[in-house]
Amino acid sequence: MAVGLPENLFLTKLDAAASWARSNSLWPMPFATACCGIELMATAASRHDMARFGAEVMRFSPRQCDLLIVAGRVVMKMLPVLQRIWLQMPEPKWCISMGACACTGGVFDTYAVVQGVDRFIPVDMYVPGCPPRPEQLLAALIEMQEKIMRTGTLTGREFAGRTKSNGPPPFDLDEVRRSQEAVGVPGLDIYTPPEIQLGNAGKLN
């Protein structure tokens, strides 16, 4: 060692030491409401084995967890529960939004389904897919660890700047546009398949 430290001793920053410890022992809180939850279970099970990355301790009490994994669609009645679970988790905490439904509402663009949990709780990592494969969730977990190593601080001051929700604002123009775009065309019979005109090029020889 260049500075002449004795063996078994090294210098680091306190922030880096805390981030190193935190990122390698993430305790996930599984908020599994749909088929993404099955993939989440598969990720934790022996074949994909999330324990390899130090995140095997799934706790079903939010007070013992620091990584919320929202797996599946969240409906109006469930959102207050999700927000309460998030508030119950101790600092520092992170959130992975897993799957198309948790990120955007997915195909469930109906009156009861929240169009992305990031509108109402802070989300650190999005996992696309319907549902995502376990490898994708593992990749997100590894990336989450990298993010904690990169930005984490002992006192969690990196969170203080995030004063807005990640998601689109609730009553945005896009929502209005989407609510108006599905209008019926008068006289259009949707049950009759369109006739395909085949020219000479389309003839079978």
Partner: protein
């Protein structure tokens, strides 16, 4: 085997019957539906309410009434099934509850109330069953937009800085 004539004899000629494959459907006016169902329960042995549901016939071709409520009954001794159907209209769709006859009507009537806003007089606990208590609309009515009226966005936002 339930025959239509005896029902018509007792409850009048407005009662009609139609069938589709092996489904028998008996249409009853809404003010007589409770008495018809009670008769079916007491005298014809229909001791099980298998299903109870409603439909909104707004803009349905040929429909004259707004709502239809269907009772699917089963006689567990003979295996006979019959569907009793009745029609209702706005502004105040209301039916007598069949909870005293079949207790399975409890949650089924709550669901119909939740989704269509049809009230069931005499129901012991007519609350919403699927939607949250503070929800005001009836989402399966055809004049309610599929994507709602913004209820799904009506929540407080929790930001990272404050939680």
């Amino acid at each position: 085997m339930l025959d239509l004539d005896s029902l018509q004899e007792r409850f009048g000629n407005e009662i009609t019957e139609s069938s589709f494959r092996d489904n028998r459907r008996i249409v009853v006016p809404s003010d007589k539906v409770y008495f018809v169902l009670e008769q079916l329960w007491r005298e014809w042995g229909f001791d099980m309410l298998v299903e109870m549901t409603a439909a909104d016939y707004l803009e349905y071709p040929g429909a004259t009434d707004r709502f239809g409520v269907m009772y699917v009954l089963l006689n567990t001794t003979t295996g006979e099934r019959v569907i009793i159907k009745t029609h209702l209209n706005l502004p105040d769709p209301e039916l007598p509850s069949v909870f005293p006859l079949w207790h399975s009507a409890d949650w089924l009537e709550r669901e119909i109330f939740d989704m269509f806003g049809i009230k069931f007089e005499g129901h012991p606990d007519l609350r919403r069953i699927l939607m949250p208590e503070e929800f005001t609309a009836f989402p399966l009515r055809k004049d309610y937009p599929l994507k709602g009226r913004g209820e799904r966005h009506n929540f407080p936002v929790i930001t990272r800085a404050e939680s």
